[in-house]
Symmetry: C2
Subunit: 543 residues, 2 copies
């Protein structure tokens, strides 16, 4: 920069009068003043230039909103899962897509993120670093809303101490690039952290006031609610139960079938069937695959199962009823005795329970943090599953003080009471009741060979609630018609079902399991809606 | 036996007059006569006793109608499968339950049975044998109606020559006991043998007139129709496709979900949705799990699939439309490009095709006997599956003489034509068309990044018919709302779906496969009803 010159004062030579001394002084003063002002302006300009230089965002390419992914390109960069991060990767650069569960700025030079993928989370951080992470980048990152989805590049670093707030706590991610893939366009109705909090914490807080998220609020905003670690685990377990069901039955020679849900007649029991407008006529939604799976037996399929929706038009607003749920149904021929079916179903449940305990203990633990429960107990070994007759079950309740005349049927309350009695006496959460009175069972149930008031039917229970109902079925058309009439059903109204048995049918039996009930009771979720992805009840058809 | 004595003639001694000579002669004659009569009567009695002895049914305990099985007892006798019979068991006694497919008496001393279990059959015979098989037993057995279910005890014998009419042809069963478990109370509408006959045989017969069983007759009596070897194989293959679908997706980190079929609003396209009476209001049957599976992605499930019924209220009476069918649906997040999904779907199909060919060739052969078809062909190896853009497909059709102006969409006829062109040119029955015009796809389809008239969507084809439709979906709520409006859909009517994307959602894509279409086209069954256990169409809701 050129040195600044003081202003030159013109002097005239000859007869003209020169400036007075005062004048000279005054001019010198002014010159001095101007010089100082110029110097100040120069300094100011220099400062501003420096400041401008400092504000240039050297990281502007390293963060920001990504363009909407319309599959513009395919760079084939490897992206990793948070679950795979570990201290052995110390120093390595990784790329991943995750949700921002929370972000927390420390001053304006640092921000911590909790990044989440399903049940896994890791801590990530950005610190202002010359030529790498700019202040602007930190500020932008700190402004990301919770639940935003980001693409993050960062270096894995061993964490100095275990980070308790993350499921992967032994490493953290030093972010070098961060782009917003999908932001939020609405306010969150609740945070995923609040939704994941155990009831005990919500109640215990004297110092901290946690926000309780009510079930209805959760279900109205199910997409957010499902993101909790608890729900991610619950639906992994739902998936697992279905798989164990299939695996076991496949190993026993069963075949999967798919039967129609649209029926020509209101079968089984007209009162609780949904009616459908079917072109110019009507159809009805199947209450169960009962008729179809029996017809598959009459068609020689021998052993069949089905996993599918069943529909119940019952206006029941309880913790354990839904208008649509998933039935795990099976039907098989029997050679000699219906206990062949009952025992196979028992083995099936033991297979499912063992599988859950052995392969899904992490998920069960995750759920238990939010829904504390005693471990589900069942009996194994030579004594096997507890089997009571209906009469024995009634006797147990009578011994406990229930009036026998109230026990023509065992209602929900007495079922639970029986569950507690059985747990106290036999230390099991799982048992079978056999030999129900014929009056309590549907028309297609085979009567007991000696006492026609009893039937060859059984229910299975978990924690004092029914989760399976099954029986030997009537395969003789004459007896079937007799029983239909005695229950007030016109055989003509179900002629293709009745006809199936007129063409010869093997003795057979089966059962139907409520998937969501098994899940709810195994985990003690206390409300069946928690065991259904998007539950349906008389008051809920959304989301 | 004591010798018979001639009658003693009394002689009187003394004065009394003795009998005359004539008298003596006469008496002797009478005596002789009486003797002969007695002898004759004795002979007669003997004959009658012999005859009576011969008519005593020494086998009466060894055959007959069994009492109705009500699980009276459980002797735990081992019963075998026909498929397990083989010459190594020669001389061993076995017990089995089977259908009488046919019976054929030879005189009154012998009867042949063809016994059937699902796809397996064996010849059995009864021959009158003193103290073992009685005439009465043979007569009763010969009178059994076809399709009766019997419990048979018999000795396995190597057959002198291979019995062609049975699937297990190297042994036969010498029956020692036979009981009727379930008889028929109606006339069979057709025999299982007739129902299993190839069309070629039905047409070819100059000497023999076979009975053709029409599809409608079959479907009206589906329980009988399903007993054919062909149908037993068809539904084993249906079961197999479902298993291959699951196995592959499980190996790729997918989770099975169950979404509700009852919806609060008529989604996607109001015209083809069934309306349900839902308590005091209305519900609608899901046309697909599209909305739910996308919401599962917004809920961070990352990769999901569902196997379940989908409902279409379309009054289409074609060979390939049903009002209810099984959707094999999946949805997954994408990292960079929707071809990640398209390629995964392609790998899934290759996995299914290979699995069927490698593990179910017997069943495929059984079906092919009744439904002759070229083996299903697909491309493997480095060249991989044929992928055409919609434009390339149109060009192929134009080259073949179709007017370009008729090809804004490719209709069913042109689809088939394209299938033939592709088969001729590329020798494959399986290919993909990518980049459909946006105008042909639903509102939730992601537009192409460069040409907004195109979309990131694809269809998969087998033998010239569409079996999968899929795409990248719009995960941005603003764009989604814009596209809904442009297709005349009010975003308010699907608010819980739209809201899911306002809370952040990863880029994603997926597809839906029609299970019955895959089965029909792989086997070339020519009508989708044959690939459904109990098909539903606008005119059929029974059985």
């Amino acid at each position: 920069m050129a040195d600044e010159q003081p202003p030159v004062i013109e002097q005239t030579v000859g007869d003209e009068k020169g400036p007075s001394k005062n004048e000279i002084k005054k001019r010198a003063k002014e010159a001095e003043k101007a010089k100082k002002a110029a110097e100040k302006a120069a300094k100011q300009a220099e400062l501003e230039a420096q400041k401008a230089a400092a504000d240039v965002d050297y990281a502007s390419e390293l963060y920001g909103k990504a363009p909407l992914n319309q599959s513009q390109s395919r760079p084939r960069q490897t992206r990793v899962q948070i679950a795979s991060l570990n201290p052995n990767l110390d120093g390595e650069t990784v790329l991943l897509r995750a949700r921002v569960q929370t972000s927390r700025a420390q001053g304006n030079k640092m921000v911590f993120l909790n990044l989440r993928q399903r049940t896994d989370s890791v801590q990530a951080l950005l610190t202002v670093t010359p030529e790498k992470v700019s202040k602007q980048m930190v500020k932008w990152t700190a402004s990301l809303q919770d639940e935003s989805i980001v693409l993050v590049e960062g270096v894995v670093k061993k964490s100095p101490e275990i980070i308790k707030s993350a499921s992967v706590g032994d490493v953290e991610l030093h972010v070098s690039k961060i782009y917003l893939i999908s932001g939020l366009e609405s306010r969150l109705p609740f945070t995923v952290e609040d939704a994941n909090r155990p009831e005990t914490d919500v109640n215990a807080g004297e110092d901290v006031q946690y926000k309780r998220v009510l079930l209805d609020t959760r279900l109205n905003n199910r997409v957010i609610d499902l993101r909790t670690q608890t729900n991610q685990a619950v639906f992994k377990l739902q998936n697992a139960i279905g798989h164990f069901f299939r695996d076991f039955l496949d190993s026993q020679g069963f075949m999967e079938i798919h039967s129609p849900k649209l029926q020509g007649a209101a079968t089984e029991s007209g009162a609780s069937v949904f009616k459908v407008n079917y072109f110019k006529g009507s159809a009805f939604l199947a209450q169960s695959p009962q008729l179809a799976k029996q017809m598959a037996i009459a068609a020689d399929f021998e052993r069949v199962y089905e996993i599918g929706p069943v529909f119940r038009a019952e206006d029941s607003n309880t913790h354990r009823h839904m208008t649509e749920f998933i039935g795990l149904d099976l039907e098989m021929t029997i050679e000699e005795h219906y206990h062949e079916v009952m025992e196979l179903l028992d083995s099936l449940f033991i297979h499912m329970f063992r599988g859950l305990r052995e392969k899904y203990s992490n998920e069960i633990d995750v759920v238990r943090k939010q829904f504390p429960a005693d471990e589900f107990k069942w009996r194994e070994g030579p004594e096997g599953t507890l089997k009571l007759t209906f009469k024995e079950a009634v006797d147990l309740l009578v011994e406990d003080g229930v009036a026998r005349e109230d026990l023509d049927d065992i209602d929900t309350e007495n079922e639970k009471r029986l569950g507690r009695l059985v747990k106290a006496k036999y230390d099991t959460d799982y048992f079978i009741i056999d030999k129900f009175p014929m009056a309590l069972r549907p028309f297609y149930t085979m009567p007991d060979p000696e006492d026609p008031t009893l039937s060859n039917s059984y229910d299975f229970f978990m924690r004092g609630e029914e989760i399976l109902s099954g029986a030997q079925r009537i395969h003789d058309p004459a007896l079937l018609i007799e029983k239909m009439k005695s229950k007030g059903i016109e055989p003509e109204s179900m002629s293709s079902y009745v006809d199936a048995f007129k063409m010869g049918c093997s003795p057979h039996g089966g059962g139907g399991i409520g998937l969501e009930r098994v899940l709810m009771l195994f985990l003690k979720l206390n409300n069946i809606r928690r065991a259904s992805l998007f539950p349906r009840d008389p008051k809920r058809l959304e989301p």
